[in-house]
Symmetry: C2
Subunit: 206 residues, 2 copies
Amino acid sequence: MRKIAESTVRRLSLYLRLLEEFEEQGAETVSSEALASRGGTTSAQVRKDLSFFGSFGKRGLGYSVGELVRRLREILGLGRTYRVAMIGAGKIGSALVQYRGFRQRGFEVVSIFDVDPAKIGRSWNGLTVQSVVSLEGELRAHPVEIAVIVTPADAAQALTGRCVALGVKAILNFAPVQLTVPDEVVVKTVNLALELETLSYALTNR
Amino acid sequence: MRKIAESTVRRLSLYLRLLEEFEEQGAETVSSEALASRGGTTSAQVRKDLSFFGSFGKRGLGYSVGELVRRLREILGLGRTYRVAMIGAGKIGSALVQYRGFRQRGFEVVSIFDVDPAKIGRSWNGLTVQSVVSLEGELRAHPVEIAVIVTPADAAQALTGRCVALGVKAILNFAPVQLTVPDEVVVKTVNLALELETLSYALTNR
């Protein structure tokens, strides 16, 4: 399959949200206009986005909801389970594990690490918090595909480097730092403070 | 002042995090190397980013932490208070109001709206939940600069349009939909499901 631009992947994810709502409501078909509205785009773009994966739509009838949900879930890799290491045993990690959408998408936390002696050895959402000193041993014995970085900013880059050296292929970063990784590793950063500050910047400098 | 690219604003926000940490630790100066490491960039880029705002650094001594914190907070518009309307009286909005960083940045929720009769009239973090029917009257009497959209996706665009018509200049969007707004309005979307799905896409299609 051709490599798809990130902007397209993001639209596919938005289309999928709409399709899941339609499926829940028992709708059988969806128009490209409805999908366009959800993705903030045009019907022509929707047809183009979906044509990457073969033709689903029937002229005048729209797209089959069930079929499109299945195909989009497959394309987005949502049928699989991803093994996740949580680096940092704090509040954000805990909220994340309890977030229904995390498990729904197959993200399964299999190990958790912290540097704080007060946390190491304690139970955390059914797992035992391990020392970051054990990171190499643990991830070699039980590899993961994703590391979630929820550490202070000054520790994040070094821990990311260690995870990448251990074969981690994707990083979900909540630390307020821009992580540097090799090209083949994917990083997504979620940083609410940064979003708030780009808003306040824009409001102040209009 | 020249218009600064969003990528630069995001780095400034990351520099500020580091500077605040240094300030807390009592450090008086910071090197461009330390700032570069936090922003995932080079010292040359740091010097370029900061030169937009006049020269702060002293060769061989680095930047004054206190002075740079003050200037960056000013540039990012963090000395002000922003009046915020919360559209949707749900869990995300509640978590947001309780998030220290929200108030710290001057984001003050002054009104809250919902469509659910069970919620309207109830107290919510010290405010009374109003019907979205009252949106126009309330925001004309008590204007806000920012609307936080925490509604189901299918309601988000229409409510955004109503807020924009009432003079709202910035939207913080948590609904899983790409909002369309006029050029002069800023939108930031925070969508964890979407970040997870771009990760799973990347892992599946390597």
